[in-house]
């Protein structure tokens, strides 16, 4: 973990509504993902960090100086916090061109320097040809880039992105996720990114802060938090039981072969995948099929067949969670009836099957 930039403990109360807050929220360099379901208070936290909303009590410190302190009735105005803020719908100024939007915050610079800085940022984000356009003439992806350009052109100390893909359709979202990761790496500005999408969190985050019912409940390296949720609610939120670091071995015949813990898995390739590239391999427990057949006797359509040993069984309502160990740890979710039929007991050896499309790959190395 790197140096802590921001430390915050605060609560924002809404009259007759929920209490939203964080306790000992620590942000370092890199991208911190604020992850949680809709209504868990992520956007409110972000607005409080930006200075656009005031907590009811608590404090926020950034790089050693106070941004907010309820006890002293002090709040550093948003315009002095030097943050880059990208709201969900981007809020591009509708009456200004792309260049006008991007240059808006550079009013303190001489005209020549300002134009140069705008041109540089537009060029970097591939927006040069759009400089004279008005926001309503842009696609969703282009609007996202303009909003990002406007937020980073002042070289802020902290970048705040609120659901940067919420306004985009799904194919665009998948495509732009890789781009955004690349840009954030290149910028190297401490970033807080709000999302409710677990794959987005994995793809973009260095660390994750899980928000639940208006509180931060868990914080850590993304794949560790997702693999080891502190409680049931977080587990349900992340809903990916198996997350493993892997490496792409080859891309061939429209399939990707990924090495995970000495075992090869076959998956469908995704955008941004490269041979020898690092990936997260995600397998949801309900997608794991268990069979008593021996390794030689399996006849199944599933491409991925893993020899596993049952470690433990946990009842979860009508289902049973089966923790398995093989080349890597794996979790399966079975109905009680299926579990009884297989007569599962800890120590049993069996085969786990996973179909190719259910091995989700998330490219990691930028």
């Amino acid at each position: 973990m790197n140096a802590t930039r921001l430390i915050a403990t605060f609560v924002r109360t809404f009259p007759g509504g929920p209490e939203i807050g964080v306790e000992n929220l620590c942000l370092g360099d890199g991208v911190t993902v604020l992850f949680g379901a809709s209504g868990s208070g992520k956007s409110t936290i972000l607005r409080c960090l930006a200075g656009l909303d005031l907590p009811s009590r608590g404090q926020i410190q950034f790089a050693g100086s106070a941004w907010f302190d309820a006890a002293r009735r002090f709040s550093l105005p948003a315009r002095r916090r030097d943050v880059g803020y990208v709201p969900q719908n981007y809020a591009l100024f509708p009456h200004l061109t792309v260049a006008g939007n991007v240059g808006y915050g550079l009013f303190a610079l001489p005209a020549g320097d300002k134009a140069a800085r705008v041109a540089e940022t537009l060029g970097w984000l591939g927006l040069t040809d759009l400089a004279a356009r008005l926001p309503h003439m842009l696609s969703g992806g282009q609007q996202q880039r303009v909003a990002l350009a406007r937020a980073v052109v002042r070289r802020p100390q902290l970048l705040l992105l609120d659901e940067p893909f919420a306004a985009l359709d799904t194919p665009t979202r998948w495509h732009l996720r890789g781009e955004l990761r690349h840009w954030l790496r290149h910028l190297a500005i401490p970033t807080v990114l709000v999302t409710h999408d677990r794959f987005e969190a994995l793809a973009l985050g260095d660390t994750v802060v899980v928000m639940q019912a208006g509180r931060n409940v868990q914080q850590g390296v993304v794949h560790e938090v997702f693999s080891r949720p502190v409680n049931r609610a977080v587990a349900e939120l992340t809903a990916i039981e198996t997350i493993l670091p892997g490496r792409v071995r080859e891309l061939r015949d429209g399939l990707a072969v990924v090495a995970v813990g000495g075992q090869n898995l076959v998956a469908l390739p995704v955008a941004g995948l490269a041979t020898a590239g690092e990936v997260y391999v995600c397998i949801r427990a309900e997608d794991v099929i268990l069979t008593r057949d021996g390794p030689g006797a399996v006849t199944a359509s599933a491409r991925n067949r893993l020899a596993v040993t049952v470690q433990s069984l946990q009842r979860e309502g009508p289902q049973v969670r089966v923790n398995l160990e093989g080349a890597f740890p794996l979790t399966a979710l079975l109905t009680q009836a299926a579990c009884a039929e297989l007569a599962l007991h800890p120590g049993d050896s069996l085969m786990a099957l996973v179909k190719t499309p259910q091995v989700h790959l998330i490219p990691w190395s930028g």
């Binding site: 200075g51 656009l52 948003a78 803020y85 709201p87 809020a91 808006y104």
Partner: protein
């Protein structure tokens, strides 16, 4: 038309323009203050500003006469401090027109400012902009349609004002007589031709103003 008629038209336009310039800064400031903030006494101030819209104009004129007369609290002070005469001079015309047109400007601009999505202003704040900069670069440009409509209404109201003007400025030819007052006087003097001519001029001016504004709005849309 005679030179006297041209002079009358020019005078009326100048008075309306002057009253507009007088009410514009405080009117827009007040509209912004009403639209963006909640403060104690806000409803009272709103009511006070709207009053000239619903009161008989003659009553507004009477109040102005009391306030700005040489023995009134404001008029007395202006006379002592600057030697300024207000009542029954062109200044009283501007004052009457300003009082009567302020509510229209404030109400239209207030609505326009309130309709500007606060997220733009908030975003500008995160980009380091102060409130003045935000007003002139974000709020005002985004509210321009409503504000222009308000300015136009105020201007048209000024050109047609009668009751308050005659109370506080009288009807002195060449000094305080505006178009509506001249029309009234012409009718009184049984000079219908003259009255109709001036009425026609009023219609043309109003029509031109509205048309110009419509075109301005249309081009920007």
């Amino acid at each position: 038309m005679s030179g006297a008629e041209w002079q009358l038209i020019g005078f009326s336009l100048r008075m309306a323009l002057a009253s507009l310039l007088l009410v514009l800064p405080p009117g827009l400031a007040l509209a912004w203050w009403l639209a963006k903030y909640n403060w104690r006494g806000k409803t009272f101030v709103e009511t006070l500003v709207t009053l000239p819209l619903v009161l008989p104009p003659v009553v507004t004129g009477l109040v102005l006469l009391e306030l700005f007369g040489r023995h009134g609290p404001i008029g007395g002070w202006l006379h002592r401090a600057f030697g300024l005469e207000v009542v029954f001079t062109w200044r009283a015309v501007v004052l009457a027109l300003a009082a009567m047109s302020l509510p229209l400007l404030v109400r239209a601009a207030r609505t326009a400012f309130a309709e500007v999505d606060t997220q733009y202003e908030q975003l500008a704040r995160t980009l380091g902009a102060g409130e003045w900069r935000i007003f002139f670069t974000i709020t005002l440009p985004l509210a321009r349609r409503g504000v222009v409509a308000g300015i136009l209404l105020a201007f048209a109201r000024s050109l047609g004002e009668f009751g308050a003007t005659i109370m506080v400025a009288g009807n002195i030819p060449g000094q305080t007589m505006t178009l509506p007052l001249a029309i009234y006087q012409a009718v009184q003097a049984d000079d219908d031709a003259h009255a109709w001519l001036l009425a026609g001029v009023s219609v043309i001016i109003a029509f031109t103003a509205v048309l110009a504004s419509e075109q301005l709005q249309g081009r920007r849309a």
